[in-house]
């Protein structure tokens, strides 16, 4: 019996591109019998800021317009295309996302990427190594293009 340690990188690239590079709703995955539940691919993806970071099983606590004035619950769009095509199972965001603070912000400890389905689904999450703090009225907060890295090399 052979134990497989890694998924073929080409297949990982294909899955990642289907999920995070698609520019229109569609391409739903509808598994055959025994393949589990199907799911839709529903861009554009939104970047959400979390005052309490989540985990890979629990949603974080999202910032609000009250504790982070200038931010709107539900996050901001990552653009028509979230990520460019992956290379070696790594891809990153194409577009920058920015907010203009209109008051003092609570610290931001994490970020999450959600789709825009009728009932949005959370796809990606990450805690910030250093929380974003000290944001006040007049400041801007930007997630630069290429700043978000999705690495699936260990799939």
């Amino acid at each position: 019996m052979t134990t497989f340690g890694m998924t073929d990188s080409s297949r990982v690239n294909a899955i990642m591109q289907a999920l995070f590079s698609a520019t229109a709703t569609g391409g739903s995955l509808a598994p055959a019998t025994g393949g589990g539940a199907g799911f839709a691919i529903s861009p554009p993806y939104h970047l959400r800021l979390m005052t309490v970071a989540g985990s890979n099983t629990v949603n974080g606590t999202e910032a609000t317009a009250v504790n982070c004035p200038g931010y709107t619950a539900g996050g901001s769009t990552l653009g028509t295309q979230f990520c460019a095509a992956p290379s070696s199972a790594v891809q990153s965001n194409v577009n920058a996302v920015s907010w203009n603070a209109t008051g003092t912000w609570t610290s931001v400890a994490g970020i999450e990427v959600w789709d825009t389905a009728a009932t949005p689904l959370r796809w990606l999450q990450g805690a910030l190594n250093s929380p974003l703090s000290g944001v006040v009225n007049g400041d801007s907060v930007v997630v630069a293009a290429g700043a978000l890295t999705l690495n699936a090399q260990s799939w």
């Binding site: 999450e112 000290g134 006040v136 400041d139 801007s140 630069a144």
Partner: protein
């Protein structure tokens, strides 16, 4: 990594080396600012403080963050 700079001219100085509010990341050569009072604005004649806060507006830029697949997410 979050890079902080003047929103207008894009630069900043730290008030004194080793200021507790300024953490230097040797790996990237960038500073993390946890307290804006650590900033001393000494450049850009056309930079103006915010009329309400009196602070020079800052630009916080996420330079790198790794996101991982989430499990069981939804709302």
């Amino acid at each position: 990594m979050i890079h902080v700079s003047c929103k207008n001219c894009g630069t900043f100085d730290i008030v004194g080396p080793g200021h507790p509010a300024a953490e230097y990341d040797a790996g990237t050569g960038q500073h993390l600012i946890t307290d804006r009072t650590a900033l001393r604005h000494s450049h850009g004649d056309d930079c103006e403080p915010h009329p309400e806060t009196g602070h020079y507006p800052l630009h916080f830029t996420f330079m790198a963050a790794t996101v991982a697949p989430a499990e069981g997410g939804g709302e």
